[in-house]
């Protein structure tokens, strides 16, 4: 960004950050003016606040707490609401954001402090739907069946999920009045049921989604598919699993 580089270090970026001290305390906002650097993202701005925790009005404050790991949009740890949309802070480039930049935690999840949330329910959901391939035996089970290349290609897209939680934050049916498991684990059921070895336990995953808070919680707002940073075809997965669970329901009735 040659034109921005010449616009000297005097330039600042305005941030309005929603914070809170403890999980139960009331949220509040604080404003920051952060010196602009070319190519900075929301994480590097938060690092700047960590180095120099001074608010826009010049008074000192505590550093804003956040989580991040990979810094390349593959771990999902830095997910937060930036200018109203849930997304990863590490891939949110300042140059592409409208100012003031409003940053808030994804409140669909329990907030631990400031921007740190507890995404445990994502991982519990994966356990609940058995999102793995059981290969353990008391003897060597040998190699499993091969997966067709055409299937592998679309299944690979589903495997990109990083359990970031953005799709749950976007979903109007994931809230404290509903027990809906959310879009991501439904798509994972499709992924593991597509696997030739995983398919052998397909019914267990479908049945997990046919209990309370399972796939029936989807109301087709389709916000998930528009929000997923990995471009995962969540609504296609949901409709495909709708078909599979419906078939499974009839098969069970008929005793097949």
């Amino acid at each position: 960004m040659a034109e921005t580089a010449t616009a000297t270090a005097k330039r600042t970026v305005k941030f309005i950050i929603t914070r809170r001290e403890t999980p139960d305390s009331a949220p509040y906002t604080e404003e920051f003016d952060i010196p602009y650097r070319p190519n900075m993202n929301v994480i590097s701005a938060l690092m700047e606040i960590q180095r120099n925790p001074v608010k826009a009005d010049g008074t000192k404050t505590t550093p804003v707490v956040w989580e991040s790991n990979c810094l390349e949009e593959v771990c999902g740890a830095c997910s937060m609401v930036i200018n109203g949309k849930p997304r990863q802070a590490c891939s949110a480039l300042i140059d592409n954001l409208e100012q003031p930049i409003r940053v808030a935690p994804m409140t669909t999840f329990p907030v631990v402090r400031d921007l740190v949330i507890n995404r445990e329910r994502m991982f519990n959901a994966l356990k609940r739907v058995k999102a793995w391939i059981p290969i353990d035996g008391t003897y060597d089970l040998g190699p499993g069946p091969r997966m067709a290349e055409s299937k592998r290609q679309w299944a690979y897209e589903l495997s990109k999920c990083m359990t970031c939680g953005v799709c749950l934050e976007a979903c109007p049916n994931v809230n404290d009045r509903s027990s809906f498991i959310g879009p991501a684990p439904i798509s994972q059921v499709r992924l593991f049921n597509a696997h030739p070895t995983g398919e052998m336990n397909a019914h267990e995953r479908l049945e997990a989604l046919m209990t309370d808070g399972g796939i029936e919680g989807c109301g087709n707002s389709q916000n998930c598919v528009r929000s997923c940073p990995k471009g995962i075809p969540l609504t296609t997965s949901i409709a495909a699993i709708n078909k599979d669970t419906t078939k499974h329901m009839f098969k069970r009735w008929l005793g097949m």
């Binding site: 916000n223 075809p233 296609t236």
Partner: protein, 225 residues
């Protein structure tokens, strides 16, 4: 809701189309006969319906019980949804929000509408033969006309968009292309059925449906056009 909500949700979805959706289409066509065939056409349609055998059980099992289950469970579903079109201003999210708003509105309207028509027949305040004039007296009042106008649009949207959602909920339309095509078709159904209802509302306003005894009603309709 505790226990297994998969089955109730499936039943809710099915009842929305069969029988409620079919009844809804039938209702639109019967009313439309007022536009196409006037006083006589409408009377014939109503008479045909009431000549069906076991009409009490047909009404009970194809209308009352399904709408009670679908409506009450629908209210529960609407209550467990957030509306977030402000943050996620997308077409399908609007349809999601409107599905809930139109559902709640339809619930209230249906209670009122049944009270104003079916219950009045049951109470003997009007008869199946006079229901056309009865409707005339209702929809020539501007307030009721607006209520009915909005309600038929809301209910028709709820039905048409519900049909779209039904196709997804049962895994019939899976990919984005299938869902786009079905959404065009369902919106086409929305327009057609809404027009049928609106035309019949205007037909009921016409002088033809004014009864001789309700001279005041026809006078006001003449003034209001």
């Amino acid at each position: 809701m505790s226990g297994n909500s998969f089955l109730p949700r499936k039943i809710h979805s099915l009842l929305g189309v069969i029988p409620l959706g079919l009844f809804f289409i039938e209702h639109a066509l019967t009313n439309y006969s007022a536009f196409e065939g006037g006083q006589e056409g409408f009377k014939d349609s109503v008479e045909f319906l009431h000549s069906l055998p076991l009409i009490f059980f047909l009404e009970l099992f194809l209308i009352w019980l399904p709408i009670l289950f679908h409506g009450v469970y629908g209210l529960y579903l609407a209550f467990t949804s957030n509306l977030n079109v402000g943050r996620f201003n997308y077409g399908r999210n609007w349809a999601f929000a409107l599905q809930r708003i139109s559902g709640v509105f339809t619930f209230i309207f249906v209670i009122w509408h049944v009270w104003q028509t079916r219950v009045q027949v049951a109470l003997g305040n009007t008869t199946n033969e006079e229901i056309g004039q009865h409707m005339h007296d209702i929809v020539t009042q501007p307030g009721f006309f607006i209520l009915y106008f909005v309600a038929v649009i809301a209910a028709t949207f709820h039905f048409a968009n519900g049909l779209w959602a039904f196709l997804v909920s049962w895994g019939i339309t899976i990919g984005p292309r299938a869902q786009k095509v079905s959404s065009r078709i369902c919106m086409g159904i929305f327009v057609i059925v809404a027009v049928l209802f609106i035309l019949s509302l205007f037909a009921f306003r016409g002088d033809e449906f004014a009864s001789a005894s309700a001279a005041i009603g026809s006078l006001s309709s003449a003034v209001l056009g």
